[in-house]
């Protein structure tokens, strides 16, 4: 039942992504409505899939990394729908859904291996890290939009998206807020993970690739946040760092999903 629902959700997300990208280029109102509908259908199927999964395994579906990534996707889609409704930025889906699709596909092809889970701390570690990652997906989408829009305005070439994107200041504020939201979650999540790793494995990293790469991602985000808060970074530089940080995060998840280590395989 769960794989079946999961597949429906992924197919719906792929359709929604296609429609959202078509809307970005074509800008027909009905294409956007269809994209929203497909996203909603996917999200509902996804919700059911997660509920069924939770019942099957008798606990929150965070025990394996692919499942945890699936929960990240679920949170991201929910946030995307809410923010799009709230802000009226109808192009958001075109930037968030591709990430959603990549993450969904990644988590669905990875080997489902159960983690060596211990006490409640580890659940909090996972949950916090996931909220952080969800915020960084939106951070990444905002950075991409900012760079596209900034480029068009700076080079004075009003292109296809010129009329579709929100003002630069809004996008800049957007990337700052999502960074400021995601960072504390990621930080606390990592600290809990490290503390737990030390007590369980006797070492903070214990030669785990996911732990290593997540530290890299954390350093990038920490640097960006410091730069923004104290160094007056903004705009393009902040956006580039958001993209680099997210790339590190994707590598982190990829490492967790595909490389041998204590988080997965």
């Amino acid at each position: 039942m769960h794989p079946y629902l999961q597949n429906i959700a992924i197919i719906a997300y792929v359709c929604a992504m296609g429609l959202a990208l078509a809307h970005l280029v074509q800008r027909q109102a009905y294409v956007h409505r269809l994209a929203v509908l497909a996203t909603l259908v996917g999200w509902i199927a996804h919700t059911l899939a997660l509920v069924v999964l939770a019942i099957e395994i008798g606990g929150p579906p965070l025990g394996t990394l692919p499942n945890a990534v699936s929960v990240v996707v679920w949170v991201v889609v929910l946030l995307e729908m809410l923010v799009e409704r709230q802000s009226g930025v109808t192009v958001l889906g075109a930037f968030v859904l591709p990430v959603v699709v990549v993450l969904s596909l990644k988590s669905s092809v990875a080997r489902p291996v159960t983690l060596a889970l211990g006490n409640a701390w580890i659940w909090i570690h996972i949950a916090l890290a996931l909220v952080g990652i969800a915020a960084f997906v939106l951070n990444f989408a905002g950075a991409i939009m900012y760079l596209l829009h900034e480029r068009q305005i700076r080079h004075k070439r009003p292109g296809r998206f010129y009329h579709r994107l929100p003002p630069l200041e809004t996008l800049d504020r957007w990337t700052y807020r999502t960074l400021a939201l995601g960072f504390p979650f990621l930080t606390t999540g990592l600290i809990l993970g490290a503390v737990w790793a030390r007590t369980a494995w006797g070492s903070v990293f214990a030669f785990d690739p996911l732990a290593f790469f997540s530290l890299v991602a954390w350093l990038i985000y920490a640097g960006t946040l410091a730069g923004r808060a104290a160094g007056g970074w903004h705009g393009r530089r902040a956006a580039y760092f958001a993209i680099v940080g997210f790339a590190a995060l994707v590598v982190t998840l990829g490492a967790g999903l595909f490389l041998p280590g204590r988080h997965g395989a």
Binding site: R27, Q28, A29, H149, I153, R154, K156, R157, P158, Y162, H163, L165, P166, P167, L168, E169, T170, D172, R173, G232, W233, H234, G235, R236, R237
Partner: protein, 423 residues
């Protein structure tokens, strides 16, 4: 009820002729009364603006009505009829509906999407209503035209993007800044166009406004006009550090705002974007400032290319608007067709009911002993026959009206059932 729209517009008639033919309200009223009162047209609306003079009418003989209407207009305005007839266009039926929709939606305007025309059409319609020149057909046509215009405006973007330099500048500012309210604006130089752009910004809530000019008196004058503050020319750099949007339009032969100055200013500004709108020729702001972080500079050519891109966008959107118009024309055609066939259907029913009632009376008169059941059966029998007979012609009429070919069928039905002159 043949419908037509005839007239001259910016598309084919020179301005001189349009000017001559354009009539003011009083004249239009007079002409409408003559035309409709004289019985040439059953209904009429005259639209007279500086870009078009058009008559929308309903008449039994549209060709004649059109000729009379424009002869009348020409006589009133003292214009040579032949000059008008050369460029006069006429649209009939569906084409007339389409034309009315396109005009009201600003698809036939000189600048596609300009907002004035809808108001002008509404005024013309109200004027004709005041003269009792509007009947059911034009009423349906125009109320629908207003609805179509509204649909086109909300569902497409033909009216959304700036097509003038000063509005394009404001639009750009809105792409950079989240809100224009509370943004400080600096005017360097005191040109007409920069004043216009500044006024648009003020309308969007920009505040405060500073004016710098080599001539102190001129700076003060301009500051007064914009409720702003005049700033001495020597304090240009200080002012630059404080504002968000700078509009330059001096007549200076060399750049007034150099890259070095802006580089210094940017360091002190932190993260706030700085937007230069340079409408001076030669340019007032060194193009090199483009490379500085969070500095955006648009000169007059850049703004023109934005305007061109916006016009192209409007034209693209116009194609979508045309599709909407096309669908609405088909819908209205069906509705107008219904308006025309309904009286015939009603009189057809009345005619047959009359015959049936008469024959039933006669039959019952010959059957004085008939029981109430028998009477009821006779009533039901006759009503059943009438309904069965009516079914086919009514269905045919409805179908033909949907296809827009109901006129000849109406004539046939009138002829066959002896319904007399249809109205």
């Amino acid at each position: 009820m043949p419908l037509f729209a005839a007239g001259i517009s910016h598309k084919n008639a020179p301005l001189a002729l349009r000017e001559q033919l354009a009539a003011d309200e009083g004249k239009v009223r007079e002409i409408l009364r003559d035309l409709v009162g004289g019985g040439v047209l059953r209904e009429a609306v005259i639209l007279s603006t500086c870009n078009r003079v058009e008559v929308y009418g309903v008449a039994d003989v549209p060709g004649e009505a059109r000729a009379v209407a424009f002869r009348h207009l020409c006589r009133q305005r003292g214009v040579e009829v032949t000059a008008v007839e050369e460029v006069l266009y006429t649209h009939a039926e569906d084409d007339a509906i389409r034309h009315a929709f396109r005009v009201a939606s600003s698809l036939d305007s000189m600048m596609i999407g300009e907002p004035q025309i809808l108001g002008q059409v509404k005024d013309a319609f109200a004027l004709a209503q005041g003269c009792e020149a509007v009947g059911p057909a034009l009423h349906t046509l125009f109320t629908q035209a207003f609805a179509v215009a509204k649909r086109v405006r909300t569902e497409t973007e033909i009216a959304r993007h700036a097509v003038s330099i000063s509005f394009a500048a404001v639009e750009l500012a809105k792409k950079i800044f989240a809100r224009l309210a509370g943004r400080a604006v600096l005017l360097v130089g005191a040109g007409k166009m920069s004043e216009l752009a500044a006024k648009h910004l003020v309308e969007h809530g920009a505040f405060p406004i500073y004016v710098v000019n080599r001539t102190w008196a001129r700076a003060q004058e301009m500051a007064r006009a914009l409720s702003g503050t005049a700033v001495p020319f020597e304090e240009l750099e200080t002012a630059l550090a404080a504002v968000d949007i700078v509009i330059t339009s001096t007549g200076a032969p060399a750049p007034v705002v150099t890259r070095d100055v802006v580089a210094r200013v940017v360091r002190s500004r932190g993260t706030r974007p700085l937007f230069f709108i340079d409408i001076a020729v030669p340019r007032d702001v060194e193009p090199g400032v483009d490379a500085l972080p969070a500095v955006y500079r648009y000169d007059i050519d850049d703004l023109k290319s934005v305007v061109d891109a916006n016009i192209r966008e409007r034209l693209r959107e116009a194609q979508r608007a045309e599709a909407i118009v096309e669908r609405e024309v088909a819908k209205l055609r069906a509705r107008l067709g219904d308006v025309e066939i309904i009286p015939t259907i009603v009189s057809l029913r009345e005619r047959l009911e009359e015959i049936r009632a008469g024959e039933v009376r006669k039959a019952l008169a010959r059957l004085p002993a008939a029981s109430p059941e028998t009477r009821a059966a006779i009533e039901a029998l006759s009503a059943g026959i009438v309904n069965k007979i009516l079914h086919a012609p009514i269905t045919k009429l409805r179908e033909s009206s949907r296809a827009g070919a109901h006129r000849s069928w109406l004539a046939v039905v009138h002829e066959l059932f002896g319904l007399g002159r249809r109205s």
